[in-house]
Amino acid sequence: MADGVAAERPDETHDTAQVAALMARAGVRLPAAQIAELVSAYRADRASFERLRQALTPEDEPLHTFDARDRGQTPRMTP
């Protein structure tokens, strides 16, 4: 079980590199200490967006829903 928990732990190095890359892409220069502060917020945001994404359904798009799994079929339109 301990191994399983360890395997699920976020990759600190990966997340730090990811945040640093996103800041660089945005053209924002930050010292390493500030990047490190953003990493915990980044993780929390990723987790909450993932929960949100899982909770959403095609019906949450009120005007126009299209299920990409139905490739080749006519998109389903709802008023």
Partner: protein, 467 residues
């Protein structure tokens, strides 16, 4: 035995307006009384970033002369108010408490500032806030954070921190705040004043520094619900230059304020509230007392379930941070040193979010709004505590500020009208607030219910010790 007369600065806006109209009070004397109090107490409270004393005295003289001629140009004529420093004011610096805007002097008044001026209000100055309306108190910001008059070691909440601090300490008669996730109601709760976030679209945001265009609201902060109604009356109305503005009839909010509609149904999310382990120990007992009081007023209290409540932080935060980053992207890239870290660390989260994240949040918002509309089919109001805890200490402000999920944010996401009214005090004398939220554009019902509740104990009469 003589009865102590209330000081001029203790009078409500309604009392001032009546006194001016009857020629029993002088706008000049009242303005001078406020300016004197500001001189006495602002050094301890840091509520004002700028006091426009000369202009205020000139405007008070003009108001007094107008009353002398029998002219009343508006319902707030002669009433001294102050503005959160994100309202653009012609010829007067508007900084947002940010080094990025320290030199910004607007050429025109914001829409609602113009409306207040038309109503006759006198502007005492500009009030401190969290930088650009988000983040946390920044001890290294251009202006020091406002202090809570009920305990100077504690925060007044934010981002409309100076507005709440000044009102509680009687350094202005009324104020305007802004509310993107609770920035009017939170400070109102922590400072024993009234704060109203009107329905989204009711009051123009033109000429107000934006944070998140789909969540930003402007609204009144005052000592009483009646005063809030008077301020709302002055600032409500359609503005085609604000994309979020809605062209609806504006009712008379003050007339009939005391006529509480019969049979109001108040929904309380008991199971959600009772499941929250992070509530301050005195928050729920005080709230239960408030609910009993609402029942005593003839309201029917019914249990409700808040839909998707576990997702609202993700929805609201995702939208707020994405939109705020979009607004401040260029400044953060080109002049990062002009922004404080409490602000930047929050808004830069937007740079880590994707278009898909934002769209998922907006889709979630749609579902949440539809679910809340269904809840509101069964009730007129939803009641919750305003804040999960009383005012917090300044120690490590960035650490605590967003540590607790918010009740206020729910109604920024839906746009529903929502008011905080004083509901009691902790054993240590810290204020607590009751939040009542209504159906879209039923701001009048929200005000009526809050007014009826407020009249039971009239907690607004309590002054912070030492002030």
């Amino acid at each position: 035995m003589s009865v102590r007369q209330p000081a001029l600065t203790e009078l409500t806006i309604a009392e001032l307006a009546a006194g001016f109209a009857a020629r029993e009070l002088s706008p000049v004397e009242v303005t001078d009384a406020y300016l004197t109090r500001i001189e006495e107490h602002n050094a301890a409270l840091h509520a004002y970033v700028l006091v426009t004393a000369e202009r205020a005295r000139a405007d008070a003289l003009a108001a007094e002369a107008a009353f002398g001629r029998g002219e009343v140009h508006g319902p707030l004529q002669g009433v001294p108010i102050a503005l959160k420093d994100l309202y653009e004011t012609a010829g007067i610096p508007t900084t947002g408490n940010s080094r990025a805007y320290l030199d910004y002097v607007p050429r025109a008044d914001g829409a609602v500032v113009g409306k207040l001026a038309e109503a006759g209000a006198i502007f005492l100055g500009k009030l401190v806030m969290h930088e650009l309306a988000t983040g946390a108190p920044d001890l290294d910001g251009p202006f020091p954070p406002a202090r809570n008059p009920w305990d100077l070691d504690r925060m007044p909440s934010g981002s409309s921190s100076g507005s709440a601090s000044a009102l509680a300490a009687r350094l202005c008669a009324g104020s305007l705040g802004s509310d993107t996730g609770g920035s009017i109601r939170g400070p109102a709760s922590w400072c024993n004043i009234v704060g109203l976030k009107p329905t989204y679209g009711l009051c123009s945001r033109r000429g107000v520094m934006p944070l998140s265009w789909s969540l930003d609201h402007v609204g009144p902060m005052a000592r009483t619900v009646e005063d809030a109604a008077m301020l709302l009356q002055a600032i409500a109305g359609f503005d085609p230059q604000d994309d979020g503005s809605v062209d609806v009839a504006v009712p008379d909010y003050r007339a009939g304020l005391a006529d509480l509609p019969r049979g109001l149904r108040v929904g309380v999310p008991w199971s959600y509230l009772e499941s929250r382990a992070d509530l301050g120990v005195e928050v729920l007992p005080t709230f239960r007392t408030a609910i009993t009081a609402l029942e005593g007023l003839g309201m029917t209290v019914v249990p409700i379930e808040l839909p998707l409540v576990d997702l609202v932080e993700a929805i609201g935060n995702g939208i707020l941070v994405s939109e705020a980053y979009t607004i401040h992207e260029r400044g953060l890239r080109e002049n990062p040193d002009r922004y404080g870290w409490p602000f930047a660390s929050r808004v830069l989260r937007g740079a880590t979010m994707s278009a898909a994240d934002y769209l998922h949040a907006t889709r979630g918002r749609g579902r949440f709004c539809r679910a809340m509309a269904e809840v509101m089919r069964g009730v007129d109001l939803i009641a919750t505590p305003t804040s999960p805890a009383p005012a917090e200490l300044f120690d490590d402000p960035t650490g605590v500020y967003y540590s607790r999920p918010s009740f206020t944010r729910l109604f920024n996401v839906t746009g529903q009208p929502s008011i905080s009214v004083p509901s009691g005090f902790t054993a240590h004398g810290l204020p607590l607030g009751l939040m009542l939220s209504g159906r879209p554009f039923a701001d009048r019902v929200v005000l009526q219910a809050a007014h009826a509740y407020e009249q039971i104990d009239r907690l607004y009469l309590r002054m912070p010790p030492g002030f």
